[in-house]
Symmetry: C2
Subunit: 407 residues, 2 copies
């Protein structure tokens, strides 16, 4: 498996584009995007666990029930959530407009929205621009970039990944893009994520691979503990790679699933790194727990703690808050058989060993924690369960972004 360029347009037979249609009225940044496959795709998707679901989520869930999809139309600047019946009608209309452009059935088009909640959706802006959007799509990296820009809100970085691998002698590609910066918390992270692949794989196994990948990637990211109304991850597979259809859980499936997980982890890490106001990507790793779930619960509790996050911002080796967050997680562990390390490219430092503080150089700890990517590593002695979770620091800018901006 190797990294390649191209994002969602890296796999054969996919085109993408994005334009400004007027939903982001003041900024005039791209706000409407489309990803299209020339051939029909099998599709799998996961949606927000929030009881309050955006209209786009309800419509996409409905359209994807048959596991088929050939295009996704997405907008930023308006979440189309808490918008009542009018919002639902707008989401259906959005799918129908895209379908008409490509002579598809409306239920083969997925819809996604992100932005401010509770503002009536300006469907006329989509109606008047759908032709321009359809004309804008292209099968290269520029198409991918335009679509990606169209789904960004407070994101400061473009988050994309694409890989290439060989399955049964054929070259298979997987490409993905994601947006997500605030309201980021399992399950799932607040985000839109679209993944394309030219692999030939049946619907059941595509769905299984997606669920496994999300468990180890997007469901292990937290920025602020808020789970949005609009979270959507969609993967579309059009079979253009020409590999033998993956329809059993054999080697081909394993290769595909690993590659899909790799793409999802890259996107998830990028999302944590781009958390609203974040200055550091914080990877929390817990090893030696009695099982994987326990490790994950402990790691998520650390990653979610406002106090740990503020300490990371201050590059303060405040390991007491790490222990404290583990303690209230509800997970089973023995504080007296726990070691805690802070680490980064500048080194690793043991700060708490087997129930007691360790003397360490504050200067060295500061040097380690001032890096842009830092780690909090916890070693337990309760078993072989391990998990890594990605988060970010809590900064003045997080407060600024969310105190000032109605998103």
């Amino acid at each position: 498996m190797k990294d390649i360029s191209g994002g969602v347009c890296a796999p054969r037979g996919f085109k993408a584009g994005g334009i400004w249609c007027g939903i982001k009225a003041s900024s005039k940044k791209r706000d409407l995007g489309l990803i299209y496959s020339e051939k029909p795709c099998v599709a799998a998707a996961m949606f927000t666990m929030n009881r309050v679901k955006a209209a786009s989520v309800l419509v996409s869930r409905d359209h994807l029930a048959d596991g088929k999809c050939q295009a996704v139309i997405a907008n930023s600047g308006n979440a189309n959530a808490c918008t009542g019946e009018a919002g639902l009608a707008a989401a259906r209309r959005m799918a129908a407009l895209a379908a008409d452009e490509f002579a598809l059935k409306a239920d083969n088009v997925a819809v996604a929205s992100t932005g401010v909640i509770g503002v009536p959706f300006p469907i006329t802006a989509v109606e008047s621009s759908i032709g321009a959007l359809a004309s804008s799509i292209r099968g290269d990296e520029a198409g991918h970039e335009a679509a990606l820009e169209a789904i960004m809100t407070t994101d400061t970085r473009k988050k994309a990944a694409s890989v290439e691998l060989e399955i049964g002698g054929k070259t298979v590609r997987i490409g993905g893009m994601t947006k997500g910066s605030g309201m980021i918390h399992p399950n799932m992270a607040t985000m839109l994520c679209f993944v394309t692949t030219d692999a030939a794989i049946n619907r059941e196994l595509l769905d299984r691979a997606l669920r496994a990948a999300v468990k180890h990637s997007f469901n292990r990211v937290t920025v602020d503990g808020d789970t949005s109304t609009n979270d959507t991850i969609l993967v579309m597979a059009n079979g253009e790679a020409g590999n033998a259809l993956i329809n059993i859980e054999g080697t081909d499936y394993q290769l595909f699933a690993e590659a899909l997980e790799d793409v999802c982890i890259k996107l998830a890490r990028a999302m944590a790194r781009d958390g609203e106001g974040a200055t550091r990507l914080v990877t929390i790793s817990v090893k030696g727990a009695k099982d994987e779930d326990t490790a994950e619960t402990l790691a998520k509790s650390i990653a979610s703690s406002s106090l740990v996050k503020a300490a990371c911002f201050g590059a303060d080796a405040n390991w007491g808050r790490v222990l404290c967050a583990m303690g209230y997680s509800g997970a089973d562990f023995d504080p007296d058989k726990t070691d805690v390390f802070f680490a980064s490219a500048k080194g690793s430092i043991l700060v708490y060993k087997q129930g007691a503080p360790v003397q360490f150089s504050e200067e060295e700890a500061k040097k380690i924690l001032l890096e842009e990517e830092i780690e909090i590593n916890v070693k337990l002695s309760g078993g072989i369960g391990s998990a890594a979770v990605w988060g970010c620091d809590l900064t003045y800018d997080y407060v600024k972004i969310n105190g000032d901006y109605r998103s």
Copy 2:
């Protein structure tokens, strides 16, 4: 029932004091306090649910197992948590030192600590100052104030309450003090709270009244979602009021329990108001839920949302985030049968009604939300369950306090 002055010294037979003994090495603010009853007390206590428990918590739990207590010694500046065997020995020694001064058995003395986690406890500072502490106690408000100052960390306000009521023809008093500002989250809020009363009540009913009061007060406060290692609430009753011993759940018990809850709610609200960096006290009220637990879960989810809290800081009527936080709470409710109001002394404004946004004046909403005490009121149509929860806004200063200060 009426409010009176005096704090923990308001009830008859209680004295308190506080000094600087050197634990807060640089600030030279009071860091060691004591509350003493001239007569033996029945006592009830509740402690942190955190699996990582401070040495003081372990020792106090042990000492209070028999429901008897005559004094509590407490310090700030060092949490004596994650300090291993040496920490436990120090906590036991602290109780023994206080006991010696008043010719008590060590297990009739409770211990409480708050401050930085994981720093060896400087027991010699307590040893050399215990005489001065014992001499400092007095039975008036100044004694109460000195003890209260000695348990404050990042608190910016003194949090105390005392009431007087008549039970069976006798005047009964209840007084309380609390510290708590960051690491505030149910269950329990991060805090030390000491309550005294001269009521005559048996241990079982004192314990029952305490648990009921905490459920409706401290367990409904959240500042930052972190539950500390040191949370302690202790109530001591010395019977000096001369009322007939409360030993059944009759009228006398009800009166006492209501008054105790009143004191606890006042202290809990004061704690939310003084949340680290907070500029506003936010009361979240949910009515019409199918039961009280559902109402409480919904209210806590709103109060805990970083996005809602940041919006409160910005005085932004961002009701979408309120719905969103309700949606991911896991509690059962119907978004289409929900109304949301923002309110304060400046008025009340309906922003979301029965599943759809309501047109409202942003100017009026801003005026309401710029107050120091604001409310988010949610009305459901699922039953008669209701709950109020207290929180605060998320501000630059929260980040500053916790990014800079190892607490």
